[in-house]
């Protein structure tokens, strides 16, 4: 597709359930980021993937959060045993890799709005 695609757009779940959020990056973008947007914390980085390298998981808030990226393309963010404080919009972004700033613009998907009841 032309842009970053995320699914589902909305997800309502019960406390304690597991959820999976999907991100399909722009074709050719090897760098992929997950961010979380919440009222209390603003926009915060969660995890970064670059090609086949080990991901940077430094932003994951707890061990209930995990992510994988299969085949260097689609990524899945999994939240286990969801809590009410996990309610937020989860945004995915992709870009070309490296430090070349002219190329390293992150393009965002529309996000998944997660509501934990």
């Amino acid at each position: 597709g032309a842009g970053v695609s995320q699914s589902p757009s909305n997800k309502v779940t019960e406390k304690g359930k597991d959820v999976e959020l999907r991100c399909d990056p722009i074709s050719g973008h090897t760098a992929l980021y997950w961010y979380r947007q919440s009222l209390g914390q603003g926009l915060e980085f969660l995890i970064y993937f670059q090609g086949n390298s080990a991901p940077d998981k430094s932003g994951l808030p707890s061990d209930r959060f995990s992510a994988e990226r299969t085949g260097g393309s689609v990524s899945t963010l999994t939240i286990q045993r969801t809590q009410q404080e996990d309610s937020a919009v989860y945004l995915c972004a992709s870009s070309y890799p490296g430090l070349t700033p002219t190329k390293n613009i992150q393009y965002f998907g529309a996000g998944t709005r997660l509501s934990v009841l």
Partner: protein, 114 residues
């Protein structure tokens, strides 16, 4: 540590008037700065970036931003606001690391009234 601050939660302006959305930054080294806009129920859309060069950067939808090194500011501007510019605006700085993650300001809601 790098950081970005947007001192105004909301900016109100009348349609046709110039608008400014403020952003200040704190970085060690050269900053790579960005502005993004978010419309309701949409993701962030890239507006413009500053890397090096001219202090006045032009971007999408008639927006521009002025980089001021001495004041560590990167204010977003538009000469004539439109009602359709009403949205949430984020300033961000790219972290100097292998990840290049973005560090965002708190966001400023721009309200343009007819």
């Amino acid at each position: 540590a790098q950081s970005v601050a947007q001192p105004e939660d909301q900016v109100n302006v009348a349609e046709g008037n110039p608008l400014t959305v403020k952003c200040t930054y704190s970085v060690s080294g050269n900053p790579y700065l960005f502005w993004y806009v978010q419309y309701p129920n949409r993701g962030l859309q890239f507006l413009l970036k500053y890397i090096t060069g001219d202090n006045l950067v032009k971007g999408s939808y008639g927006f521009e931003a002025e980089f001021n090194k001495s004041q560590t500011s990167f204010h977003l501007k538009k000469p004539s606001a439109l009602v359709s510019d009403s949205a949430l605006y984020f300033c961000a700085v790219r972290e100097w690391s292998n990840t290049g993650k973005l560090i965002f300001g708190q966001g400023t809601t721009l309200q343009v009234k007819p």
